[in-house]
């Protein structure tokens, strides 16, 4: 069950500069745990206090996961996950 995960520039320090990696998981939460096992340190940049960070956007097949159940968003083989930090400020 391979899922492609697109990694933003700022997080490529964790993936050896790779723009895209593969990971596994039946939902976003377990996918992130698998990413962490392969690229230690990345989970903390995505998750804070058990939930997705407010200023990190994650998309499954182009849909914002906030509309798909957040960390519970189900995944299946061949899905594409995109991680993009929000462009925001004050």
């Amino acid at each position: 069950m391979a899922i492609e995960v697109r990694i933003p520039t700022i997080l490529r320090t964790y993936t050896g500069d790779q723009k895209s990696v593969t990971a596994e998981g039946a939902n976003l939460s377990s996918l992130i745990d698998d990413l962490e096992a392969k690229h230690a340190g990345i989970k903390d940049r995505l998750i804070d206090n058990g939930d997705l960070r407010r200023f990190v956007n994650v998309y499954v097949n182009d849909e914002d996961v906030r509309f798909l159940g957040g960390l519970e968003a189900p995944l299946s083989d061949g899905d594409q996950v995109v991680v993009l930090p929000a462009v925001a400020g004050g």
Partner: protein
């Protein structure tokens, strides 16, 4: 140093003035690794606020897919401050996630929607450290290197 052509500079200023008193935001994309600010893209401030800006999440994905397809990156990320100086706020610094970008701040506090000069400043923001840089406005960008 950030180099911008006059038309792009004027378009960013016009956008900031038009959206005042809300913050305006957008990017200038360019070929990856080139540091050339070539393609201005105005973004909608989904926060619609005088004190905050955020790209809409769907627009953000579309923008990054487009840049990806063109082998581009955000060379400039800009937004306006409408009541304070053109210097990154603590929030701006904490949320600066593009290590290769020039962060441009435009302040419309003096003339708002009207004609008149604005503050237009550029910064690098890396690991919470802010470094101001010179902005050079040229009539057009030099020809692309062919090497």
């Amino acid at each position: 140093m950030l180099t911008l052509d006059q038309a792009t500079y004027d378009a960013i200023v016009a956008h900031a003035k038009r959206d005042h008193p809300d913050e305006a935001c957008g990017i200038v994309a360019g070929p990856e690794g080139s540091d050339r600010a070539e393609r201005h893209v105005e973004m909608v401030n989904a926060a619609g606020s005088p004190t905050f800006y955020e790209f809409d999440s769907t627009d953000l994905l579309r923008l990054y897919r487009e840049m990806d397809a063109n082998d581009e990156e955000p060379v400039v990320v800009y937004h306006s401050h409408t009541a304070t100086e053109a210097y990154p706020s603590r929030t701006d610094i904490g949320l600066a996630m593009e290590p290769n970008a020039h962060y441009v701040l435009v302040s419309t506090r003096e003339h708002g929607n009207n004609d008149g000069p604005v503050e237009f400043r550029s910064y690098r923001i890396i690991d919470d450290e802010v470094t101001e840089e010179e902005v050079s406005v040229v009539s057009s960008l030099p020809a692309r290197s062919t090497t």
